[in-house]
Symmetry: C3
């Protein structure tokens, strides 16, 4: 009888222990979102459409053209529309707001610090990301460092893919937001 | 008898499981602080008093006046005094150090990345925040992404309120720092 | 018999509960790394060797010399080599990429936001840090706010020491990365 109880309790343990908070040893996400965001960099002549702007540049560079040397030293501030698919004109579910910093002289890498501010019928809240983005790699993982609202206290990993780009003015990112710590 | 043991164990489980670390399913904060900080932006003539400065701006803007178009593209670096009440001249308990980035062209929003560096008899340590701040909203939630010292490994949510502002030079923020993960 | 089961279960609880995820009430790190990184600031004449550049400055300052007043208002973007010892020419295990922001007018402090991108036989993945760095203190603690790859979902504290500096062009930091939350 005691053994049976022990077994039940042992089983109970594994069933019950993980949900405070929901952390999975197997590393399956407790929540998963796919978001696209669309960045149109101001180039001196597209003020009406631009969603981002170069605001800092290294010596000798200007603010209407990404710097030579892999844009090293450019800081770009953005407020980009977020959609659920790869169409810039789809219904917006929120904005991606923050900055990226080109930080390497011999290849394309950026440091991202930004927040998805979601405001749709399905999701209301913020998701904040930070990390290195080696933009030439097919997929790159960035840390999800916090959330609010529907994403209260969440943490996770965002896998970023460049979905499209046109010259140095437009690019679109697909972001798989996988939460591993949900509350 | 076995059933009784199972019940006791079940109860024990709920009592004991949550404190490793202190995470509450009910989402009551495990620690709560209210801090005020005071930002005086350098405008070209207030060097002695200013606690912050515009250090980046979009094309066509300068560094002594917040940019038009809702300050879009301005990066402001700050080292602001922190007090426990809304009086700029109250005893300082620390500094708020970091930057905010105005990131929207059609309303006021900023991206915050900064740290409360507290150094008082009550609190010694740092609290780091990051996230989107839609500054026109009465209250807005930003993620508390880390802490050190008395706030070792803490995480939480900071609810920010604009407590006062004077023109484009002074503003005061009230920050309710609610930790939900304490160590 | 039931009492014996309860005791076994009680013991089981302590043995099993903590590893989901590995969080230690005693605050012993679950993983520990020592990394050095080397920063060579562009000064107008060292383009070939420089690993970082001033990209923003307060009014009146320029981008080839750190600003007066404790560099207040300078933003420096960097992509610095990371080594396991204090020799700039040792084997690189990765890069430190991001920015630091000098944010005080009456002493040296910086706000760090950067990522260790490790790519060696021993470690592959990223570690992202954010926080205040009062650079004149012998040691200062900064939050480790996220990780990917080998450092999937990790959190911790990084203790930073200035290991060496030469004028305003070269400095070397030693970083003790102590993870307290491993997955």
């Amino acid at each position: 009888m005691g053994v049976k109880v022990a077994l039940v309790v042992f089983f109970m343990f594994f069933v019950l222990c993980s949900p405070f908070p929901v952390k999975r040893p197997q590393h399956a996400p407790c929540k998963h979102l796919v978001l696209f965001f669309h960045d149109i960099i101001y180039n001196g002549s597209n003020a009406a459409n631009a969603t981002s702007a170069i605001v800092a540049a290294p010596e000798g560079a200007n603010l209407t053209k990404l710097a030579s040397q892999f844009h090293f030293g450019n800081i770009v501030v953005f407020d980009d529309p977020v959609t659920l698919d790869n169409n810039l004109h789809s219904n917006q579910v929120g904005r991606a707001q923050g900055s990226y910093i080109y930080d390497t002289k011999n290849t394309f890498t950026a440091w991202l610090g930004f927040t998805f501010v979601l405001n749709s019928t399905d999701h209301r809240g913020t998701i904040t990301l930070a990390g290195a983005d080696p933009t030439l790699k097919k997929t790159r993982d960035v840390s999800v460092i916090g959330g609010t609202g529907d994403f209260f206290m969440h943490r996770g990993i965002a896998t970023i893919m460049t979905d499209a780009f046109e010259g140095q003015v437009y690019f679109r990112l697909r972001v798989d937001v996988k939460f591993y710590e949900c509350w």
